[in-house]
């Protein structure tokens, strides 16, 4: 089924991308269609506890590079979330964009590709499949964040997101290589819980943290707000940031016995939970409050998953589901407010509770679910988390537990501040000061209401949700079998703690709403941008210095570099076995070569120099003949011929004689020439003086006959034995030829060129 769904999704992406601007907003319902199929299938798989049969697509058989998919319990839960919220997001987009918006086809195609990547990620059962889809989510999210590519802010944010998540991707690759090597399998379901290296654990944890925007990698997430709201809603709820959580969850049983895994995970989780919450309290942009809230919530998930106890894992999965539902709804609410009022600043927004009643209702329900207030899905999930905390013991765990409680208080606080800031009417001002509101759009209201209702429905069908969560948790930790979600736990300690959290959070949030007036500065993001722009500027300076455009300088640089690099050969120089020549013919030809070389340097006209250079080549050809290498001689002769002809052709464009040069430059040229000449001689003599053994002539001649079937050993080597080298060499030729063709393109006539220049400016 997976191997059927993936092509359907990918073909839909292609279709959408190719549809152009013809379809307008209709692309969104079309894009939702394959997700509906996925959703229905996902729901049908939710009830079955056994993992589905594996589906594989062989890619490179020898390297165990295969696409292997298997629908585990966690994967089916994620499938429902990703496709379900995806459908809502596409419906919402239908209302969010207007018909004349540009590039809706590419946008919807990218968004669908993004959900496909996320689905592939959760379905993957091979580490390589996982990695490919992981990278695909990075790339598609980069495109989505940078959708408004005419805005500098959007481009910067997109680049930041890509750099951080791609760096995480590299860590993931390294980590997966280490694991696959020590586990001896690439299958996730066969990993087992062997003793793995802590390096692998740290690498995988870092990868998960970059994707899930954990402190200090969280800086890309607030910037990703530059994306259109449907993207934010999707990115922050079921996809992208959840990819990291899924990764951490999948590997939590594998690394259960690796100590660093827990420590690093707890560090990321606790730091993000607290810092994200504080960040949310300091923002004024409603969307940013939610974004920082996401950092905090994901920190909570990381902390719970890293704790490793069955109850904590169970709670983490429950919160994962609840968070996806309420966060998507809240983002949709903010997007609707943005579209209908023109602002997201909670200092400007007021009195929306009465003017946007439906939106207010959705926001109130979802926010209450986020704060963990009954009777909602978020409450049941939070209760499970608090119960898990109460069971903890040991210093490290108690610190984590305490942080979860503090983090929950802050969560309630920023939720309160969000609701008060956006919807309340300031008491001292009249109701007429309420923000003016545009008429509502059906697409947006329906999908946000649907998701808002899910928080309630989830609570109503809690026993069912509980089984789904349980089977997913059991996949990670079989001991989770005994746990379930309660609608009404009774007056337990956990409930009292929850009540205390909500009460203190409400007070803190009310104070925060009144007291916090100064805008927080996004220091981390600025630091990231600064380092990127510094690298770029340095590169520009270095390139400017290196590529100055003077050919003599290029040649001098290359010659000097090559000479210096050859110097180590001098130490291997052994003049003992060196003799001058085999025969008088060699001596004569060598002298001829030297004389012609000197002539090249001495003559004043270019044509004479070219001809003298031809003499040098012919002398060398003669040397090859004298040495008994007819193949080399033939090739050398032909090359010399072509070079001379080439010179003659090229010289027509140049002045007759060489330009005059100053004394100093002439001296420098002498020095450089002497240096490279000396270096080449030294290297040749050194390599000739220290042979490492007799050349295997006999064996090669034998092989040439039997394997290559030819008597010319040189050619058999070229086209058969070392044909790969030849392939490499002709590749170089092709590259050079393409370079010549591109550089020496016939110039456009001047008028056309001016036109082209104008176009470039525009």
């Amino acid at each position: 089924m997976i191997l059927l769904l993936l092509p359907i999704l990918l073909v839909s992406c292609l279709f959408l991308a190719a549809s152009g601007n013809r379809l307008g907003r209709l692309v969104f319902p079309l894009a939702a269609a394959p997700l509906v199929v996925t959703f229905i299938w996902g729901c049908s798989q939710l009830v079955s506890t056994a993992p589905s049969a594996e589906e594989r697509l062989v890619w490179v058989s020898g390297l165990s590079l295969n696409f292997i998919f298997q629908l585990s319990s966690l994967a089916s839960l994620m499938t429902v979330l990703v496709s379900g919220i995806g459908i809502c997001v596409f419906m919402y987009s239908f209302g969010y964009f207007s018909d004349d918006s540009q590039g809706l086809n590419t946008f919807s195609a990218t968004l669908l590709l993004f959900s496909t990547a996320m689905l592939g990620l959760v379905w993957a059962d091979s580490v390589w499949t996982l990695f490919i889809f992981w990278e695909l989510t990075s790339i598609t999210s980069f495109l989505l964040v940078g959708h408004k590519n005419t805005y500098k802010e959007a481009r910067l944010s997109a680049r930041r997101a890509l750099l951080i998540t791609a760096a995480g991707g590299l860590c993931l690759l390294a980590g997966l290589l280490l694991i696959a090597d020590s586990a001896g399998t690439t299958r996730l379901s066969e990993m087992g819980t062997a003793e793995f290296s802590s390096t692998a654990a740290v690498l995988i944890m870092i990868a998960a943290a970059t994707k899930s925007a954990q402190f200090p990698f969280h800086i890309w997430l607030p910037g990703a707000m530059a994306a259109p709201t449907p993207v934010s809603a999707y990115l922050h709820s079921a996809t992208m940031v959840k990819a990291g959580v899924v990764l951490a969850a999948l590997f939590s049983p594998t690394f259960a016995e690796t100590g660093t895994w827990k420590t690093v995970g707890l560090f990321f989780g606790i730091a993000s939970m607290l810092w994200g919450g504080i960040g949310a309290l300091r923002q004024f942009d409603a969307k940013l409050i939610l974004a920082w809230g996401t950092v905090s919530q994901l920190g909570l998930l990381f902390t719970l998953l890293s704790l490793g106890s069955a109850k904590a894992t169970f709670a983490a999965i429950a919160i994962l589901a609840a968070h996806a539902v309420f966060k998507a709804a809240l983002f949709m609410v903010v997007g609707e407010i943005d579209v209908r009022t023109g602002t997201r600043d909670i200092r400007k927004l007021a009195g929306l509770a009465s003017s946007m009643p439906i939106t207010f209702g959705v926001a109130a329900v979802s926010a209450a679910s986020m704060a963990g207030v009954p009777p909602l899905l978020g409450f049941a999930a939070k209760e499970a988390a608090i119960e898990a905390v109460l069971k903890l013991s040991g210093t490290q765990d108690l610190i984590a537990g305490g942080s979860i409680v503090v983090g929950s208080v802050i969560t309630v606080a920023y939720t309160t501040r969000f609701m008060l800031g956006v919807f309340s009417t300031p008491s001292q001002e009249a109701a007429s000061d309420a923000t003016p509101v545009a008429p509502q759009s059906v697409g947006m209201s329906v999908s946000s209401s649907l998701l808002g209702a899910c928080s309630v429905i989830g609570f109503l069908i809690l026993p069912k949700v509980s089984t789904w969560v349980k089977s997913a948790a059991m996949q990670l930790n079989p001991e989770a079998e005994i746990y379930k979600l309660y609608r009404w736990p009774g007056l337990t300690t956990a409930f009292l703690v929850s009540a205390a959290i909500v009460a203190s959070g409400l007070v803190l949030g009310w104070f925060a709403e009144k007291k916090i007036v100064a805008e927080a500065k996004p220091a981390g993001a600025r630091f990231a941008d600064l380092s990127v722009s510094t690298i770029l500027r340095t590169a520009q300076v270095i390139t400017g210095k290196m590529q100055h455009g003077s050919l003599p300088f290029y040649i001098a640089t290359m010659a000097i570099t090559a000479s210096v690099a050859t110097m180590p050969f001098l130490f291997a120089l052994d003049v003992e076995p060196i003799y001058w020549s085999d025969s008088w013919a060699q001596t004569t030809l060598a002298i001829l070569a030297i004389i012609s070389s000197l002539t090249v340097a001495a003559v004043r006209t270019r044509l004479s120099a070219a001809i003298a250079l031809g003499f040098v080549g012919l002398s060398i050809t003669g040397l090859f003949v004298a040495h008994g290498a007819p193949d080399l001689a033939l090739t050398q002769l032909l090359v010399e011929t072509v070079i001379v002809v080439g010179f003659v052709v090229g010289l027509g464009k140049l002045a007759h004689g060489f330009p005059q040069v100053g004394v100093i430059w002439r001296g420098v040229r002498f020095l450089v020439s002497a240096l490279i000449g000396f270096a080449v001689t030294a290297a040749l003599v050194a390599s000739a003086s220290a042979p490492t053994g007799e050349p295997p002539l006999e064996a090669i001649a034998e092989k040439s006959q039997t394997v290559g079937g030819g008597n010319n050993i040189v050619n058999v080597i070229l086209t058969d034995m070392r044909a790969l080298d030849t392939l490499g060499e002709i590749t170089v030729l092709v590259v050079v030829a393409i370079g010549i063709l591109a550089l020496a393109k016939p110039r456009l006539p001047s008028i056309e060129r001016e036109d082209a220049a104008k176009e470039n400016v525009i």
Binding site: L634, V649, L733, V734
Partner: protein, 142 residues
């Protein structure tokens, strides 16, 4: 660039070119057992193309096309054995016994060499194209 209207040069290049191409063909096939081979053949053909360009006998050179055909042939021969379950660049040899010529041995290395030849020719024609060989200034006066 240097172009020549000299009828002597033009006639001799015109007469010599088929002979040179014959030499190139010989070199190409001789490479199996004697000095020669695809690279040398390519150089000879390239020199012919350049000379014909200088004398205005040839105007239309499509370096890019020659290059791409050569690359596809060489790379194709390199990759082809993979599809037959062999390793890359593995040579296949076919033997045919023709009535007059006797035993003829054909190796896939020969096809590979053809690719090499074409790439060398393409490279040289690209060079002459880059030097402005295709823009023959005299043609406007005809």
């Amino acid at each position: 660039m240097i172009t020549s209207d000299s009828p002597i040069l033009r006639t001799s290049v015109n007469v010599i070119s088929p002979l040179a191409l014959l030499v190139a063909t010989y070199l190409f096939f001789a490479g199996h057992n004697k000095p020669g081979g695809g690279f040398a053949a390519g150089l000879v053909i390239g020199a012919v193309v350049i000379l014909r360009t200088i004398t205005g006998l040839q105007r239309d050179i499509q370096a890019a096309r020659i290059l791409s055909i050569g690359t596809v042939i060489a790379a194709g021969v390199a990759v082809a054995p993979i599809f037959f379950g062999e390793t890359m660049l593995d040579q296949a040899v076919w033997q045919v016994t023709a009535p007059v010529l006797g035993k003829i041995k054909l190796g896939s290395a020969l096809v590979f060499d053809l690719g090499v030849t074409l790439v060398v020719v393409g490279m040289l024609t690209a060079a002459i194209e880059g030097l402005g060989g295709t823009h023959y200034p005299v043609e406007e006066e005809f």
